[in-house]
């Protein structure tokens, strides 16, 4: 048993942010979620029983995420105005194509069913072991294995589907020529 040292939490901000981004699918929501998570953790002294901080943070992140989802579903829907929309991240990015790629990956993870998403976030994004993930998400280890397997498969499938090249488009004029030449059936005969 040991008391959680608030100062040591600061080293996990980046990783927790990535986890939150994959859960929410948006940077802005992720920022709010991480802030809320830290606010909850730091609200009073915490005692850890053997587990490491990241595991504990994942547990609180999950609870905060689920609570915020429930609260949001009860809140009346408001329409965003143009002023509310953030066009782009103003920070300079060293590798724009990679940042874009990660954005796509996180958005795809965020589209998964909640249970699979949480499993993938706990293990692949946060780096928890299956056992820690199972404890943090309050499910059996075997359940984590199954959910993780399905989640990875689903995300890989969705990403490949998104990236698959579209069938070539034949311009209208060219299509008429093709029909005239008899390769495609003409409108009259079809």
């Amino acid at each position: 048993m040991r008391t959680l040292d608030p100062q040591s939490l600061t080293q996990h901000v980046d990783r927790l942010y990535r986890a939150a981004w994959a859960l929410c699918g948006s940077r802005e929501d992720a920022e709010d979620l991480v802030q809320e998570t830290f606010a909850r953790v730091l609200a009073r002294p915490r005692v850890l029983s053997g587990e490491h901080e990241l595991y504990y943070l994942m547990r609180v992140l999950r609870n905060t995420f689920l609570t915020s989802r429930r609260t949001a579903s009860r809140r009346p829907v408001t329409v965003a105005t143009l002023d509310d929309i953030v066009a782009a991240d103003p920070r300079p990015l060293g590798q724009p194509e990679r940042a874009l790629e990660m954005q796509e990956v996180y958005a795809t993870i965020a589209a998964l069913p909640e249970d699979r998403r949480l499993a993938l976030v706990a293990v692949d994004v946060l780096g928890l072991s299956y056992r820690e993930a199972a404890r943090a998400l309050r499910v059996r280890e075997a359940t984590i294995t199954t959910r993780l397997f399905r989640a990875r498969k689903e995300v890989a499938r969705l990403l490949v589907a998104e990236l698959a090249p579209e069938p070539p488009q034949i311009p209208v004029a060219r299509r008429e020529e093709t029909r005239a030449s008899g390769v495609l059936p003409s409108r009259e005969t079809s």
């Binding site: 608030p6 100062q7 939490l9 600061t10 080293q11 901000v13 980046d14 990783r15 927790l16 942010y17 990535r18 981004w21 994959a22 940077r27 920022e31 991480v34 802030q35 830290f38 606010a39 730091l42 002294p45 920070r91 590798q95 194509e97 990679r98 940042a99 790629e101 990660m102 796509e104 990956v105 993870i109 993938l120 692949d124 994004v125 780096g127 990875r152 498969k153 995300v155 890989a156 990403l159 490949v160 990236l163």
Partner: protein
Amino acid sequence: MTELPPHTESELIELVRSSEERAPDSLHRQVATLVASRRRRRLALHPPVLGAVAAAVVVVVALAVVLSDGGSSGPSLLQAAAPTLRAATLPAPPESSANHAQLATAVDGVPFPYWEDRFGWRSTGTRSDRIDGRTATTVFYSDASGRRIGYAILAGTPAPRIDGGVVAWRGGVPYRLLTANGAAVVTWLRDGRLCVVSGRGVSSATLLKLASWSDHDASAS
């Protein structure tokens, strides 16, 4: 790994695990503020805590002095990774004539890998440093596009403990993925020796692929 989007589950996992997206500075500041206010509150609520902390510090320092054997806990990640980003001072080692997966140089019997034929990373130089009383030998590799990787092996056991980052398992070996001095770093153990690969502009996934291949093929053979 390539910089292309992932097409398989394993590529996806690698990409997600090696992601180094940083939280916005504003979030770092907010968390730092929350932590600071928590500490202030704790001290304000429990004034005797200050005295207790001071006493504890005295005890810990005294114990450290009494129990210290003069050695240190080993170099930090920054120290261990630093040579991999410096310039080579010695010529490149040739390919080993006995094993084509290795170079003809080793640290405590742990050989450096030969990556040229398989991955196109050619050894270009070497350097030797003393870090916290240990010898660190670094071999540098370059690829066709001019990117550079430093591969350091720290002599002596037990290897210093490196914490933090993300752990990725390859062939039963844990590889730790971190960032130091603005460059991706992968650390792991080979025969109990700390190995560090790092390179600016080279993704963690690429480093991990190279590190895990060399560990499997160069030391197992």
